[in-house]
């Protein structure tokens, strides 16, 4: 089997395969020619310093941000026709939490594609939304105004909305930013259960110390792709130094490699 057909088979099976993706702002590339084929059923962390283009890569792949060049495929098809297979959990700070909506309203937004304009949300839609809320342990908050929730609760509501979309691939942008430890654990459990069901997860992640615990794949990104693959192969001192441009101290690296003392680099 030659290399070309092997790659295309990989791409055909992948819920998100990007090739040569470049995004630029003001003639400056923020993501430069990135290739990544997400293995189906995997849980990938996208790791890199601030301004490395992690969120931009995902947004451009989904068509939220305009890409300069690049080919994005979902199960081998152009993403434009396949976007219903992708659920997206944006960064929490990109949302207007003051909006007059309740928790159940937000979760029902996940059914957007299933509802035509003349259809109103019916009981079975509500039930579907309540099921998703139950999976993240938030069913008691259904009628709460979204702004009244804590950061962690808001994140769980967002996860519930993504669950309602029943997509093959869920893309999360820093789902653990600004949430308490208990919520982080709860979210990880939900994500792992999704993976057990055969779904794929792609996650921008900041906490280097938990990459080994939570994820099986990692994409190290700093404008360009530095390295990508299984965590145990790729998440090494050499690659991390390359990703962070030598800004990690040997002490920090030793901690990451040796034990699980939390080290957080950069903030949201």
């Amino acid at each position: 089997m030659n290399r070309a057909t092997r790659v295309s088979e990989e791409v055909a099976a992948s819920p998100l395969a990007v090739q040569g993706l470049t995004v630029s702002y003001d003639h400056r590339p923020v993501v430069y020619s990135v290739d990544y084929v997400t293995p189906p059923g995997s849980m990938t962390a996208i790791v890199g310093p601030n301004g490395a283009g992690k969120s931009t890569l995902l947004k451009a792949a989904m068509g939220i941000t305009r890409r300069l060049t690049g080919d994005v495929r979902v199960f081998g098809q152009p993403i434009e026709r396949m976007s219903r297979h992708i659920a997206y959990v944006p960064q929490r700070n990109s949302i207007d939490w003051d909006f007059p909506a309740t928790v159940i309203d937000v979760v029902t937004m996940g059914l957007f594609r299933n509802l035509r304009w003349w259809q109103f949300t019916r009981r079975h839609h509500r039930e579907q939304a309540m099921e998703s809320l139950a999976r993240v342990g938030m069913e008691a908050f259904a009628e709460r105004q979204i702004g009244q929730l804590s950061g962690g609760q808001q994140q769980r509501v967002f996860l519930a909305r993504a669950l309602t979309q029943q997509a093959e691939l869920t893309i999360l942008d820093e789902p653990f930013a600004g949430v308490d430890a208990a919520t982080e654990k709860a979210i990880v459990e939900v994500l792992k259960r999704l993976r057990e069901e055969g779904r794929t997860l792609l996650c921008v992640h900041h906490d280097l110390a938990t990459v080994r615990d939570y994820f099986d794949q990692v994409l190290l990104l700093n404008v360009r792709r530095i390295a990508a693959g299984p965590v145990e192969e790729v998440f090494t001192e050499r690659h991390l130094q390359a990703t962070y441009g030598g800004r990690l101290s040997t002490v920090q690296l030793a901690r990451l490699v040796d034990d699980q003392v939390p080290v957080t680099l950069g903030s949201a």
């Binding site: 947004k59 989904m62 068509g63 939220i64 976007s83 219903r84 992708i86 997206y88 944006p90 990109s94 949302i95 207007d96 939490w97 003051d98 909006f99 007059p100 909506a101 309740t102 309203d105 937000v106 937004m109 957007f112 594609r113 509802l115 304009w117 105004q145 702004g147 009244q148 929730l149 804590s150 950061g151 962690g152 609760q153 808001q154 909305r161 979309q165 949430v179 308490d180 919520t183």
Partner: protein
């Protein structure tokens, strides 16, 4: 009664319909924190209307609508251009755009008046509800008389049509409007085309502003967009209830404002009547003030409570 039919029925209906239409759209402007776009659009409707008047020589509604609509879309493009090229805040770009275009409109208006055509500056700015007289409205029977109905001021049918179009837009695009205001990135990810819906909303605002132009003028219409919706936001944390409140506030300020302007000062012993549009806008402002002072949801909940 026949006095009411002849002099008040049409202006009152126009005021109510325009207030409700503007307030309905205002809800989404307020939620998007784009209140200023309503201001910008209503200001630049003026040069659009003047230019179309200069070109066609009439105040025919179609020409005016097209002129003002074109200038509204031109404004949106100009704001974007200034924002990108000048790299300034969107509010700065809006401020520059609408004040300068409005100034152009005023100059055009004065210049063509010098050339002998008539389009009143004062009415363009403050509107003239009181001029919408139904000469055949001599009694309740006129409501069922096709000849008398045909004599209704054309502005009435125009604002009703605009009101229906705007209401249909909000109903059809309700999910897109909500999604695009609340979470634009998610909206884009589910192909709800938030940017396109944004543009449609601005177009609807332009259409409503133009319809309101003749009735209330191009300055006072901003109060109709923002005051009822902003006051409504302070009354509830539910979107449907907010829209209902905004409609109630719109009706109350239109009806009370119109009556007060015509009669109210007489009741108070003054022998004058004042501009109905001005009174309506003032009342809308008073309602907003009251809501700010006593509305049940004045405290913003957007800041997350402790975990």
């Amino acid at each position: 009664m026949s006095d009411f039919m002849m002099f008040s029925l049409v202006p009152l209906t126009v005021a109510v319909v325009i207030s409700m239409t503007c307030a309905l759209l205002g809800n989404f402007l307020v939620l998007r924190r784009q209140s200023l776009i309503g201001d910008a659009i209503s200001h630049v409707a003026l040069p659009g209307i003047v230019v179309s008047f200069l070109l066609t020589g009439t105040l025919a509604s179609t020409a005016m609508m097209l002129g003002a609509g074109a200038s509204a879309l031109g404004t949106v493009a100009m704001i974007e251009l200034i924002r990108r090229l000048g790299r300034v805040e969107i509010s700065a770009a809006m401020g520059v755009t609408f004040t300068s275009l409005f100034a152009v409109g005023v100059l055009l208006l004065e210049w063509h008046q010098a050339s002998g055509v008539h389009l009143d500056v004062e009415h363009a700015l403050y509107g003239n509800l009181e001029s919408l007289i139904w000469f055949d409205g001599t009694g309740p029977a006129a409501l069922f008389d096709p000849v008398a109905l045909a004599d209704l001021p054309p502005q009435l049918a125009r604002v009703v049509w605009v009101g229906l179009v705007v209401a249909a837009f909000v109903v059809v695009f309700r999910r897109q409007l909500i999604l695009g205001s609340f979470d634009p990135d998610f909206a884009a990810s589910v192909r709800s085309y938030p940017a396109l819906v944004d543009l449609l909303l601005v177009t609807m605002v332009a259409v409503a502003a133009i319809a309101a132009f003749e009735a209330v003028g191009s300055i006072i219409v901003i109060a109709m967009f923002i005051c009822p919706a902003a006051a409504a936001r302070l009354m509830t944390n539910r979107l449907r209830a907010q829209i209902a409140w905004s409609q109630l506030f719109a009706v109350v300020s239109a009806v009370l404002g119109y009556l007060l302007a015509g009669q109210g000062l007489g009741w108070l012993g003054f022998d004058v009547s004042v501009s109905a549009a001005g009174t309506i806008a003032t009342l809308a402002g008073v309602i907003l003030l009251l809501a700010c002072l006593w509305g049940p949801h004045r405290h913003r909940t957007g800041v997350a409570a402790s975990p």
